[in-house]
């Protein structure tokens, strides 16, 4: 106990005062960053009469809002929808983006460069421009208001393909050659030999794809019609409008939509931060 108390003091005494000021400012800034989240959580634990009391720690915390909102089943449904969609799209991206990235990085064939440039060029096309044709396509094929309708535009991305290609280029050819000599087929070589060598990149891709789909709003807003198929963000938005500005209910809904990713982050912080760094550096 005594040691624990003395050691930070020891560290601080060696540190220049400028460092302490910088640390304090950084800390205060960090607290300000999470203030909106704290207010959101704290208000979700208040009842209607306490909403105007702006204390961060509620005087009489209650879970009534959560019980009421989760009780009507819609949020549970939206939660499940969002999870299913984000998971499937993530799996699809991890599979196809790395397959294509690998092919473009490790195979020699005529047309490779053209395929690469063609895929890369789609990065320049904003989603918003494709939304109307997608919408037309979805209504013609009856995909409006279905999981597939929400998912299909994002099953593969040029960003993911590019990222994976960068990483596969770093995989030594010798490894693959050795496997070929062992008589493994190309699919097995990719899946069993190459993929395990790029797991950090795969987790980066998975994190980005999952987060992007979990928070996606624009396309799901357009392509869903019935409340049963809403994703969490779309459901929350319509729920909030419908609550006629009862802030404690809206904050509870916002908390339900936000908490899962925050909790996942607390457990996987190291991997997520590393993943973002990787994607940012190579992407």
């Amino acid at each position: 106990m005594k040691e624990a108390a003395s050691s930070p003091a020891l560290v601080l005494s060696r540190v220049r005062p400028g460092r302490i000021v910088a640390w304090t400012l950084l800390f205060i800034g960090g607290v300000i960053m999470v203030t909106p989240l704290l207010f959101m959580l704290s208000t979700s634990l208040k009842d209607a009469s306490q909403v105007y009391d702006l204390r961060v720690i509620p005087a009489a915390p209650t879970l009534d809002n959560y019980v009421e909102i989760l009780g009507d089943g819609r949020f549970t449904r939206w939660f499940i929808n969002s999870t299913i969609i984000a998971v499937i799209v993530t799996l699809s991206n991890v599979f196809f983006d790395s397959l294509v990235g690998y092919t473009l990085a490790k195979f020699q064939f005529r047309g490779r460069y053209i395929v690469f440039i063609a895929i890369l060029s789609t990065l320049m096309i904003p989603t918003e421009m494709l939304v109307l044709p997608w919408y037309l396509m979805a209504s013609q094929f009856g995909w409006i208001d279905s999981y597939w309708g929400i998912m299909f535009p994002g099953m593969m991305t040029a960003f993911g393909t590019f990222l994976m290609k960068q990483f596969f280029e770093g995989v030594p050819d010798d490894f693959l050659e050795a496997a070929r000599i062992d008589g493994l087929n190309e699919f097995t070589i990719w899946w069993k030999i190459a993929m395990p060598l790029v797991t950090p990149a795969l987790s980066a891709l998975a994190i980005f794809t999952f987060l992007g789909n979990w928070t996606a709003f624009f396309w799901p807003l357009i392509v869903t019609t019935s409340a049963e198929l809403y994703t969490l963000p779309v459901g929350l938005s319509s729920f909030a409008v419908e609550q006629s500005i009862q802030w404690e209910k809206i904050m509870t809904g916002a908390s339900i939509a936000t908490l899962p990713t925050l909790i996942i982050f607390l457990f996987l912080q190291r991997y997520i931060v590393r993943g973002v760094m990787l994607a940012g550096l190579k992407g």
Binding site: V11, W23, L26, F27, G30, M33, V34, P36, V51, Y52, L99, T103, F107, F109, R110, V115, T122, M124, I125, P126, E128, M129, L130, V131, L132, P133, W134, Y135, L136, M137, P153, M155, M156, D182, L184, N185, E186, F187, T188, T215, F217, F218, I222, P233, L236, S237, A240, V241, W247, M251, G253, A257, T258, L262, F265, L266, V273, V276, M277, L281
Partner: protein, 309 residues
């Protein structure tokens, strides 16, 4: 395992085994690419051409499309709302990108030197990046309310500062809508900056210190130039994000989206309203083409400028 694989490959018999290794590779490659290529053609390229085509038609959701030439573009250029929206969209970019990059660089620069509780503080900054913009817009909407319910105005008036209209003002509303977007993006930019700073070899700094360079000079002569690739990435990436802002704007003022008096309406919201409130799909398609051109030009100009320096 290898035996099984052998047999699979050998199964097609003579034809396959007669192929050279290179030919087999080509077949494998196109086999791997087959499904993705179909996807890219059907879900990316075809819709791109279709968007251009739709932009020269008068397609509404209820009427089939017929060719109208450049009518939609003419209408757009003559529409004062478009020019207002155009200005707004650029305001999001011009305010958002420099402000968020400056803040995140300063934070990353100092955070990089902090050891005590480093990952905890980093987590505080990073958390907002993981939130859902649609949800957070409602939190901020509540913050911006006038007294007695608005958090910010309550704090202001407890210090005797007059309350601010925020979302109810044509001048304050756009920065107020932008703030949550900047807030949510900071964490990502800080992490990327941190990664960039880490990638600079320590020996450079040591050499500079031996040469007697001041901290400021080190920042200017070593850190910033070596950080250029990171900076280019972040400038282009965040610019595209601000030019495409939608979720926050849509949710922060659901009764008058993009208001008051269209002062916060970005191009993507105009596209959404044209297409899905007024059903003027052709006109909306023309707007999406304009968005595409804007994004393309901005990215190219940025890359060009940053490369030259």
């Amino acid at each position: 395992m290898s035996v099984v694989a052998h047999r699979e490959v050998a199964a097609p018999g003579g034809l396959w085994s007669r192929l050279s290794l290179g030919q087999k590779q080509v077949i494998w490659a196109w086999g791997f690419l087959a499904v993705p290529l179909v996807f890219y053609v059907v879900i990316r390229f075809w819709p791109t051409f279709q968007a251009f085509y739709l932009s020269v038609t008068d397609w509404t959701i209820t009427k089939p499309a017929s060719f109208v030439g450049l009518e939609n573009y003419k209408r757009l250029l003559a529409d004062p709302l478009f020019w207002q929206v155009f200005r707004n969209t650029f305001m999001y970019l011009i305010l958002g990108t420099p402000i968020s990059l400056l803040i995140s660089f300063v934070i990353a620069y100092y955070l990089d030197r902090v050891r005590f509780m480093h990952s905890f503080i980093r987590a505080l900054y990073f958390l907002p990046f993981l939130t859902t913009a649609a949800a957070m817009a409602w939190v901020w909407r509540w913050f911006y309310q006038p007294v007695p319910i608005g958090v910010i105005n309550d704090i202001l008036s407890s210090f005797g500062i007059p309350q601010q209209p925020f979302l109810r003002s044509t001048t304050q509303a756009l920065p107020a809508v932008l703030a949550p977007a900047v807030w949510a993006g900071l964490g990502f930019q800080i992490i990327i900056f941190l990664a960039g700073l880490r990638a600079i070899p320590v020996t450079y700094y040591e050499a500079a210190r031996i040469d007697g360079l001041s901290e400021g000079a080190i920042l200017r002569k070593i850190t910033l130039p070596l950080l250029k690739p990171t900076l280019v990435f972040l400038v282009v990436f965040s610019s595209i994000g601000f030019l495409r802002i939608f979720d926050q704007v849509y949710n922060i003022n659901t009764n008058d989206p993009g208001g008051p008096l269209n002062s916060t309406k970005p191009l993507v919201l105009m596209i959404y309203q044209t297409a899905f409130s007024s059903y003027e799909m052709g006109y909306a398609a023309a707007q999406t083409v304009v968005l595409f051109v804007i994004l393309l030009v901005i990215s190219l100009v940025q890359l060009r400028i940053m490369r030259d320096r």
